[in-house]
Amino acid sequence: MTALADVPLALAIPIAALVVLGSTLTLIGATGVLRLQSFYDRLHAPTLATSWGTGAIIIASALLFTFIDGRAVVHEFVIGAFIVLTTPVTLMMLGRAALERDRAEGGKAMPEMPEPDPSPDHGPDRGPDRGPNHGRSET
């Protein structure tokens, strides 16, 4: 608490704004993971947390520790670079794995895949949790 009291107001306001921005974006991303209907919609939601959620919080942390230690503290940007490099790899591999699994099961939950039967209630936004193979395909 004593270290936080020495921070000048012109530095405290950007740090507070960046921390609030990053945590709010992470909360919105988590809400999207919980609320979106299809898996292929949910795949986009965590990128809010990994782009500017992480970016704002590590910039705020670097600013605060640069002031507290009295020297340039940039080791937070190692985390930032790692997250930025690894998140597309992870999400592309996960999306491709889900696509292979859905194709192997007949493709009721995939987006924009030509259906063999043109029944009107098989929309592209139909979640995999409401498919007809619910309960059988849970692994």
């Binding site: 608490m1 004593t2 270290a3 936080l4 009291a5 921070v7 000048p8 107001l9 530095l11 405290a12 306001i13 740090i15 507070a16 704004a17 921390v19 609030v20 990053g22 945590s23 709010t24 992470t26 909360l27 991303g29 988590a30 809400t31 993971v33 919980l34 898996f39 949910r42 795949l43 939601a45 965590p46 947390a49 959620g53 992480t54 919080i57 590590i58 942390s61 605060l64 520790f65 507290i68 503290v73 937070e76 190692v78 985390i79 790692f82 997250i83 690894t86 790899v89 992870t90 591999m93 996960l94 491709r96 794995a97 889900a98 292979e100 699994r101 995999p128 949790d129 849970e138 692994t139």
Partner: protein, 93 residues
């Protein structure tokens, strides 16, 4: 004055990130399929890493930074291994 602003902002960030972790934990519990759980676990790693960073900022120590780095690296390795397992059925081929 500046300490008050920082403490309020960091407390809000801690509550928001913990709530994000709870929401992602609910998605892990509900599923409904394995790739949903892996996706929520990957996002949960990021949320807990940010919570550790914010806690380190609030306490004024740099000790939480190493834990956040380790969690980021382990989250990547875990998610890639689980994605490979979901697509092929084996991790190392």
């Amino acid at each position: 004055m500046s300490a008050t602003i920082l403490i309020i902002a960091l407390a809000y960030a801690q509550v928001a990130l913990a709530l994000a972790g709870v929401l992602l934990g609910l998605r892990i519990l509900w599923g409904p399929r394995a790739q949903d759980r892996v996706l929520a676990l990957d996002a949960l790693y990021v949320a807990i890493m940010l919570l550790l960073l914010v806690t380190g900022m609030r306490l004024g120590t740099a000790f939480f930074f190493e834990a956040a780095t380790v969690i980021a690296i382990m989250g990547f390795v875990t998610s890639v291994a689980l994605a490979k397992f979901l697509s092929r059925g084996e991790v190392i081929e």
